[in-house]
């Protein structure tokens, strides 16, 4: 057994950490506070040029071909500095991966390369609908066959990066008479396609620099070649690809949690009350011990899930466990970190409140942690069914 990272993985981790320290950390608070989003877009371009948009994507399409473990490490390091940038990078990677996994040769050559090179600032996943969140197979956005292609009507919500995405992975119902989940197809649609309308941007609690928008389809006509994978096989694709995304979001949560507890620990060894550093109080020591232990456990779960993915083994259960545990450890670490900082932590003079707001969504998006538990238990229980 060997838990050491390879030299390449360490170098990728170091590069992500250096970039995050040099470019993301200095602007993260400003971006959170409504700063100019073009700053983040500039950083995304640089990250693309360094190869961060296709970590687990073949060289052939401009990817780094570095694997799922390196992807996890990179997202954690970016999230330590700026969760908004990290989530954009994570989603971009997942868009590339789904295209690589089920796209046609034309789709791969055209779109993966544009995301990897930074020509497109982002790619988006358009799955969730107002009435279809945890239950995506209840979606109603319709793709009707028409004139050799499809016409889409419906609306999606909570679409990360929509205003600056170059391409959208869109799920829509192609056979409304099929059993639930059996009549959904997956499409790849370019931004700017007539009838694809970017709706209002959500005003969120955190991850402010990352845009989250409504996306509306109004008689959006697309060619047959926009179909990804097989007709009516879209829901299966979503289920499989979301598992990889969970490694990304778990890794992102880990990064935020580590940032919070690192800052709070550094504060605890400086802050004096009752004539001594607060780190000398057992109450604070336990917070440090508990938060770090949970984050370390989260890291190992993430590494295990990523390792399994990288080696072609099943990883849905492990990814769900890692996502659920890491994002809860992150929220917990932010809570403890804010508690250690006291009133200062509640102010915008310190980043702890930002970490706490940014971490909160991680137990919700990419599948709520309740859905993760459902996936985990289903994977376990299937071995017990008579």
């Amino acid at each position: 057994m060997n838990l050491d990272l390879s030299e390449e993985q360490k170098l990728i981790q170091d590069t992500a950490r250096d970039f995050a320290r040099d470019r993301l950390e200095p602007v993260a608070a400003e971006l959170d506070d409504g700063g100019d989003r073009s700053i983040m877009l500039d950083n995304l371009k640089l990250l693309a040029e360094l190869g961060f948009m296709g970590l687990n994507v073949s060289h052939e399409y401009g990817g780094a071909d570095a694997g799922a473990v390196a992807f996890s490490l990179a997202i954690t390091e970016l999230a330590r500095a700026c969760a908004s940038t990290a989530v954009t990078v994570s989603v971009n990677n997942m868009v590339c991966e789904v295209i690589q996994s089920v796209g046609s040769n034309e789709q791969k050559t055209c779109y993966i390369t544009k995301i990897c090179s930074g020509e497109y600032a982002a790619g988006s996943f358009a799955l969730t609908e107002p009435g279809a969140g945890s239950d995506p197979s209840s979606m109603v956005t319709r793709a009707e066959a028409s004139g050799g292609g499809f016409v889409l009507n419906g609306s999606k919500i909570y679409i990360t990066s929509a205003p600056y995405a170059g391409v959208f992975v869109v799920w829509a119902v192609t056979d409304p008479t099929a059993p639930k989940g059996k009549g959904i197809s997956c499409f790849l649609i370019e931004a700017g396609t007539p009838g694809l309308i970017i709706g209002k941007e959500e005003r969120k609690m955190g991850q402010h620099a990352s845009a989250t928008n409504e996306v509306i389809f109004q008689d959006c006509r697309i060619p047959e070649s926009a179909l990804m994978g097989k007709l009516n096989d879209g829901f299966r694709i979503a289920v499989v690809e979301l598992a990889g995304g969970r490694i990304g979001i778990g890794s992102l949560g880990l990064g935020i949690g580590l940032a919070a507890i690192d800052r709070a620990t550094a504060y605890a060894v400086e802050r004096v009350q009752f004539g001594q550093k607060i780190s000398s109080f057992q109450a604070i020591q336990w917070m440090i011990a508990d938060a770090n232990t949970r984050l370390e456990a989260a890291r190992l779960l993430l590494m295990n899930a990523a390792f399994r993915k990288e080696n072609g083994r099943s990883f849905a259960k492990e990814a769900a466990m890692a996502k659920m545990f890491a994002t809860e450890a992150a929220n917990d670490a932010c809570y403890q970190a804010l508690q250690m900082f006291g009133g200062y932590g509640y102010t915008k003079d310190f980043p702890i409140e930002r970490y706490a707001r940014d971490a909160r969504i991680t137990s919700i998006y990419e599948g709520t942690n309740e859905i993760q538990r459902l996936i985990i238990s289903r994977e376990i229980l299937k071995n017990y069914s008579a």
């Binding site: 030299e7 170098l11 970039f19 360094l50 190869g51 970590l55 780094a64 570095a66």
Partner: protein, 258 residues
């Protein structure tokens, strides 16, 4: 053109350092290691020169140390060095600058490099001797503390950082050696595809003992944290009074004011 870049792997300087068992160096267990910052300037300058010359020069990166230094070597390869030499020496920390320089010179002598880039010093030992000793052993000219570098037709024009913000200009004919200082350039990040592709580049391994067995000329007698001094002085009073008190202290206890 053949270029050699000598790099060292050093601990992350934000580490918490503890003396080792024999109290002659720091305890290396549990430390994260990185490429010496000054050597990053050396690698960057070499790669820039290669780009300037249309990719013609072949850059060899060299590092002495245990297997862990291969990570630093691979970073240099990812940034643009062509091939690498790893000189295996598990007890690299116990080797002093003369021994390190002798090992490097023993390797480099047979190749006849046109240009050698090194860092100005290492971040951990900070002797700033290895570069100039290598040049001396190879019998080639050298100049140190570069903040500017230009090359044309076999001549290096180096801008050196001197004390007090003064700059010096030095011209050297190749073969030559230069040592690189902060401010020479902004090292690029290695791209991820290049990190992965660098796995295919050649790394040749030598045993340090096979290259040189020079005895040490100096030795470390002890390594310890400075003794804790008493707590600082807190001055109180109006601004005018504070200024008076500070001037008195500066006059009495320092050479700043006389």
């Amino acid at each position: 053109m053949k270029i050699l870049v000598c790099i060292k792997q050093v601990p992350d300087m934000e580490s918490h350092f503890r003396p080792n068992g024999s109290a002659t160096w720091f305890d290396e267990s549990d430390l994260a290691f990185r490429m010496n910052e000054y050597d990053e300037y050396a690698v960057e300058e070499a790669v820039k020169l290669k780009e300037q010359l249309g990719g013609e020069p072949e850059i060899t990166v060299l590092s002495i140390g245990p297997d862990r230094v291969i990570e630093a070597i691979k970073k240099a390869l990812a940034i643009g060095c062509d091939r690498a030499v790893h000189i295996n020496e598990s007890a690299v920390a116990s080797k002093e600058p003369w021994q390190i320089a002798s090992i490097i010179a023993a390797y480099a002598r047979s190749i006849q490099f046109d240009l050698v880039f090194t860092g100005m010093q290492s971040q951990d030992r900070g002797s700033a001797q290895v570069g100039v000793l290598v040049a001396e052993l190879l019998g080639i000219p050298s100049t140190t503390t570069l903040v500017g570098f230009a090359y044309a037709d076999g001549v290096v024009t180096a801008t050196r950082e001197l004390e007090g913000g003064v700059k010096g200009k030095v011209r050297l004919k190749t073969p030559a050696l230069v040592t690189c200082q902060l401010g020479l350039n902004s090292p690029r990040y290695p791209t991820l595809p290049n990190i992965m592709k660098a796995r295919k580049k050649e790394i040749t391994t030598f045993q340090a003992g096979d290259l040189s067995s020079e005895p040490p000329l100096t030795g470390s007698s002890s390594f310890r944290h400075p003794e804790k001094k008493g707590s600082g002085v807190v001055l109180e009073g109006s601004v005018d009074e504070l200024v008076e008190k500070v001037i008195v202290i500066l006059k009495d206890k320092t050479a700043v004011l006389r």
